[in-house]
């Protein structure tokens, strides 16, 4: 093999490597193209003070909507997210779960704190006036419909979660029912960016 052939082979290899490096790994969630800035909001935090999305710039945020009296969707989603954070190990410090209520009548900051804390102490909840929450739901295309059930009521709501990258861009939508491993897969990609 002469020097010219070796140079040619090396060049081909370099081109192939560059092409591989440029192709972003595929997320398991549904991907928005092009990504847009996640709509900002300011709500009452289940922690202390105001919950603003901008506070978590630099972290990957998983944003979900639900309510603490939810018996089907929310406990499953929150348990899956807690499991995903545990699986991520130390890098979970760069992931923030934000859960916004669709039931402000019953979900005050204290109730949300108690409920979310049971899944993972780092989870943050957001609540506020019906008007403020309706505006956030509109910005994110979330549906929530109150349904009476005898003396009480339930809220039928969108069950997916959004994945927001470190730059605050809405990158992907994870449908309900996906596994913790799917979340871990996508979070690792977003954390590495």
């Amino acid at each position: 093999m002469n020097a010219r052939t070796v140079r040619g082979l090396l060049l081909t290899l370099a081109v192939l490597l560059a092409a591989t490096a440029n192709s972003a790994p595929a997320l398991k969630a549904g991907v928005f193209d092009p990504p847009r800035e996640a709509p900002p909001f300011a709500l009452q935090s289940s922690g202390a003070g105001t919950l603003e999305l901008g506070n978590y710039r630099g972290k990957v945020v998983i944003l979900g909507f639900g309510f603490t009296w939810c018996t089907n969707v929310c406990p499953v989603t929150l348990a899956t997210l807690a499991q995903a954070r545990r699986k991520l190990g130390a890098s979970a410090a760069d992931v923030q779960i934000v859960y916004i209520t669709v039931d402000p009548e019953r979900d005050d900051p204290a109730r949300m704190h108690q409920y979310l804390h049971a899944f993972d102490p780092t989870f943050i909840g957001g609540t506020g006036t019906e008007r403020a929450l309706a505006a956030v739901r509109k910005d994110y295309g979330i549906t929530a419909e109150k349904r009476d059930s005898g003396t009480s009521y339930s809220v039928a709501h969108s069950s997916f979660t959004y994945l927001i990258d470190r730059q605050g861009r809405l990158r992907a939508l994870m449908p309900y029912g996906r596994s913790a491993d799917d979340y871990v897969h996508d979070l690792k990609i977003l954390l590495a960016e």
């Binding site: 398991k28 991907v31 092009p34 847009r36 969108s158 939508l173 449908p175």
Partner: protein
């Protein structure tokens, strides 16, 4: 005359068998143009037409996908205004690509439908000859 009829019958039988054999034994390939994607678009001017009183469904009530063949749902908003399309809010010019990895039935809230629901059925990959025949027959 009887012999001719027998030959015609035999030829039809052989042709049927050949089609059946092809449908069952030839592997199903993805389309060269769009690969495994199934694309649905909101055309430009949809919002304006709706405002003018026209009521038309943008998406079918039910979308059928097949794992390994056509298992990526692609929604694209070509209209001039944001739209709730499928499960999500999409800005003008934005597309949403959702891959499926499990055969199942998925329900999404969707304001593009009168029912408020969109159903996506993801069938398993047709691995057996009989499954391939059924898959091809469904697409006739």
């Amino acid at each position: 005359m009887r012999s001719l009829f027998r030959w015609i019958l035999l030829a039809c039988g052989a042709a049927g068998l050949a089609v059946f054999g092809w449908a069952g034994l030839t592997p199903i390939e993805t389309r060269a143009d769009s690969g495994r994607e199934e694309l649905f678009e909101i055309p430009r001017g949809t919002w304006a037409r709706r405002m003018a009183g026209e009521d038309r469904d943008i998406l079918p009530d039910q979308i059928r996908l097949t794992l390994g063949i056509r298992d990526i749902l692609v929604l694209r908003n070509r209209d001039d205004v944001p739209q709730i399309f499928g499960p999500t809010l999409m800005m003008p010019g934005q597309s949403f690509k959702l891959p499926f990895e499990q055969a199942s039935e998925y329900q999404f809230a969707c304001t593009a439908h009168a029912s408020g629901q969109m159903r996506v059925i993801v069938d398993p990959y047709p691995a057996t000859p009989w499954a391939r025949i059924l898959w091809r027959a469904r697409r006739l």
